[in-house]
Symmetry: C2
Subunit: 685 residues, 2 copies
Amino acid sequence: MAADPDPRDPLVLFMPSGKRGRFPVGTNLLDAARQLGVHVESVCGGRATCGRCQVEIQDGSFAKFGITSSQDHISARGGKEERYDRVRGLPAGRRLSCSATVLGDLVVDVPQDTTVNAQVIRKPASDRVIARDPAIRLCYVEVEPPDMHQPLGDLDRLKAVLARDWGIRDPVVPLRLLPGLQKTLRLEGWGVTVAVHQDEDARPEITALWPGLHNSAYGIACDIGSTTIALHLVSLLSGRVVASAGASNPQIRFGEDLMSRVSYVMMNPDGRAAMTQAVREAVNGLVAKVCAEGGVDPDDILDAVFVANPIMHHLFLGIDPTELGQAPFALAVSAAVRSPAAELGLAANAGARAYLLPCIAGHVGADAAGAVLAEGPHRQDRMMLLVDIGTNAEIVLGNAARTVAASSPTGPAFEGAEISSGQRAAPGAIERARIDPGTLEPRLRIIGSDLWSDDPGFAEAAARLGVTGLCGSAIIEVVAEMYLAGILSAEGVIDGTLAARSPRILAKGRTFSYLLHDGSPRITVTQNDIRAIQLAKAALYAGIRLLMEKQGVAAVDCIRLAGAFGSFIDPKYAMVLGLIPDCDLSEVRAVGNAAGAGAMMALLNRGHRREIEETVRRIDKIETALEPHFQQLFVDAMALPHKIDAFPHLARTMKLPARPDPGEGPSDGRGRAGRAERMARRRRG
Amino acid sequence: MAADPDPRDPLVLFMPSGKRGRFPVGTNLLDAARQLGVHVESVCGGRATCGRCQVEIQDGSFAKFGITSSQDHISARGGKEERYDRVRGLPAGRRLSCSATVLGDLVVDVPQDTTVNAQVIRKPASDRVIARDPAIRLCYVEVEPPDMHQPLGDLDRLKAVLARDWGIRDPVVPLRLLPGLQKTLRLEGWGVTVAVHQDEDARPEITALWPGLHNSAYGIACDIGSTTIALHLVSLLSGRVVASAGASNPQIRFGEDLMSRVSYVMMNPDGRAAMTQAVREAVNGLVAKVCAEGGVDPDDILDAVFVANPIMHHLFLGIDPTELGQAPFALAVSAAVRSPAAELGLAANAGARAYLLPCIAGHVGADAAGAVLAEGPHRQDRMMLLVDIGTNAEIVLGNAARTVAASSPTGPAFEGAEISSGQRAAPGAIERARIDPGTLEPRLRIIGSDLWSDDPGFAEAAARLGVTGLCGSAIIEVVAEMYLAGILSAEGVIDGTLAARSPRILAKGRTFSYLLHDGSPRITVTQNDIRAIQLAKAALYAGIRLLMEKQGVAAVDCIRLAGAFGSFIDPKYAMVLGLIPDCDLSEVRAVGNAAGAGAMMALLNRGHRREIEETVRRIDKIETALEPHFQQLFVDAMALPHKIDAFPHLARTMKLPARPDPGEGPSDGRGRAGRAERMARRRRG
């Protein structure tokens, strides 16, 4: 609109984006924001009725920009804004940008209410605020009444005003909306709020209509995990997370892990349909829950973004996942999926949309894509390792120049399966362990209590909670401590000679166990447990090492551990065990449900959809099964922390046991690797 | 592909389009056609398996273009073409253009199999062949098998080959197709036929998928009239009409005419839903019928085009038509409507599309738009009058420079209602009548017999069929003949003094009747019948006259009478009566179901959709109710043939009765016009 800016015009600076420009005195502040590409919400189209375009004017001198911002540099409240304040209340210091004009230099704060509950979804590593630009917007318009002189249909006149007031040209209108259109238009004197979906280069689409001003629009971001489903209800207008909920994936009744679910489908004619129905019902249960908690009408849910691993992704979409259970692990679809949410049975507005992030490969799903989007290896220059550990570990390594991804068949050992005393994380499970290298006596902590086992009061807590088993994160810690205490050799063999020194070393046939807790049940770590952990960690490390080779790096700059498991393990012990490669420990960070955070980003900003679609296209996908080298990497990774690789950063923080000569491998190395390889094959069907 | 054409290269000329260009020796003939924008169908993508790309090479010298075309100027049949001929048979003289290359100058005939059953749908006035370019095309592709090195999903690889082989980029894929995709791809070794819908500037959409080569695609063109529904099943690949069928509109049970159906909706809460269901079921009944007749699987129906008047249009779409029953007669939607056909309950392929032509105004529907598309006033320079006579007459007048449209409330008199002996066209109804001006004796013809009443054998035919009443077209003829015989005055008064001369003039209270047939029933034309016809024809003529004034013309160059009524009336008598304005009689033509012909054009060529959408936008819509002048035009049109307007062309073909001085109108003219005006208002709610 403005020609060349006049250097004498006031400078307007919007925070937190920092975008700025000069505008003539009298420029409408909302218009100024839009000209700069600053997203300021507005539903009512500048009528000072929706209250969505609130901003705060900063007072003071901003030396960096050479300006002084002041309340005197903006027009005084007019009648409409006063009326809004009377009727709906305007917080102190807030102004409606649609009703204010620029009088002088300004620093304008656009409130970012994107407060994500940190216990549920961690913010992206950079603590970036998610700039809002959702695929759904609400547009209030006042349609011209019908005119016999120019007999355009009601819908056609609605389209005309949408083009004029909002720049939305020739939207698609689903047939579903036509029967109610004429009544809706007439209910509030031709004023109507239109929900418009606009994503990618497709034509905009009208997805919902309400009479008069409709001032709420919500979306859901949902991570469908094999074990748990996490869902967040978010205001698309403010970015606020209104409520969050989680539930077990009810598909567990068809099979504990992914491959057993695929088997169920292969063996039961109705298995696919039953599992699709189960997961969709669970999602709807969570939708009902967050709506009740947030006091939100499900009919106001207009968009939904999902992430999931490939098998969950296919089952949610109603696709038979059998192909994913066998080579070549063909996805039915790898690109992002867009659909009316109704076709997924979502209990939301009839016109709600759904978006599933792209899958990276047959074992690296939309959940991994979500984690990539949230953590952004592709947005920075350092070599970032991003790991999400489950039955398959999804591994991404890269930076802005190049990103590679793979999955590794870690198996269920990290989840407590295949471990003699393993259990899911629940009250009473041991979650922390320390072993005195001198006495070989352990100290423990159990879930549900903050006390260590040598603290006063622990016995009472233990009596109350029970000491029932070892959860996944504790297994890492115990095995690492056994190694640090000298109970375990670098090859992972429990040193039976120590039985002479400590009653905790128990003989069990030709091998030995370590007695962690002498109660009921008796909790031991057996040689078999150690082997299971070694196989799992070797698979993960070998996958990481393979990607490091593909990137041509000997070390990574930072590590992000995603997912529940990643949140609970101590990075130091993960490194002692050789689960992850050496790295500055301050650069290793658990990032929680990064996949869900990515879903949230894609929900609140359609630009992030483009970003992840483009990024996934550029990711080099590595299939470990096709790499002849992988087996050798696997064998080398069986040792603690590794047969060859050095851990210099870790060694600087603690004294590591002396390493054996890398020349002499454990006598049964080949056989063990062979077993590992067979396991890997079996797990992939 | 080719750079500047070399003038020494062979010239290739395609008929009937006449498009031509020079191509190097060795150019593939199908490629040459495509480079020139000549539509030659191909499903198999040049594999010589679908047989759709057949052409005929002309032999001989074509002086106009300075070339000689010969079978020697095209490559000999290769192995693939021979195989096709062996397996499926290639008609003599036909070649597969995908398998032939240019060796010298060629005149290539692209067979146009668009033979429309003339008894059902007349071809557009110009007898133009409908160039095929349907919105749906079938594309056979061979998808790359999955590759673990590049783990793109099956759909993603399908999209890649669609882009490479057919230039179709990033199509929308409905969720519905994903569950079956992987099996479909694997059934015939990764060969699959894709139905792609591409219309307007929207992204293409995959609407159906079949394993291997699928070589049939059909569409339906359907005209939903108030009284009858007519439907045609057409091959989208050849343009051939496979079968046609018609049925009564079952909504008749809710109300005979449009306004009574609107009243039914207003007074019955479930009325709208019942009528929508009734019409959709009737359409599906016709679909089943044409599929059975044509031996076509309904699952092969991939597209459907509908025309209808505004109230039928709304009811078919599930929209309450109440607004159309009262000023300002607001359409819910006037632009063309696109929808998945499944949302209209159509019993066709689950991915079939539907297209409804735009409505012109509240009383000028998609049927009128269809007639405009078929007859094309906007495609030529002469002033064309296009009239479709029903309860509301839809009137279009124009040429390439400007087109205007209106409707006139003729009422149901032309359909035989409001006429004492009126009936629908059926065996036994009088359809033709002549009156001897000397004896005043009539001669008749009845539907079901070709004999006139003075032919030998008529009595037997009449005894067999019965003589039951007067159908709409005969009423026009009888009244016109009564006028020509001097029984009727120009004011429309039956001359009672003639009762002395003929026993056929019967006194009936203060007015008189004419006895047309003295049987059981006794068929008379009463003074009231005459008045009803006068009101109806005056409404129509006044509407036409209004449009002529808007166009600033005193006469029209040609007249097209659309619809069943227009097909059966004799243009000469319609002119004698003053139903239509004066015109060279050789320029007056009945065009049958022009609306249906327009639907067919929009089905077979998506360019015609753009054409009619653009044309309708440009049409000036005239609302007669808003024209103060209309009442005077109405009053003037009550006289036979008209109070003022001359009929010079008509007068040259027959002796018309002397006209009264235009100064002295009939004494009750004002009152009569007043009644007419009241009628018009009542009919519009």
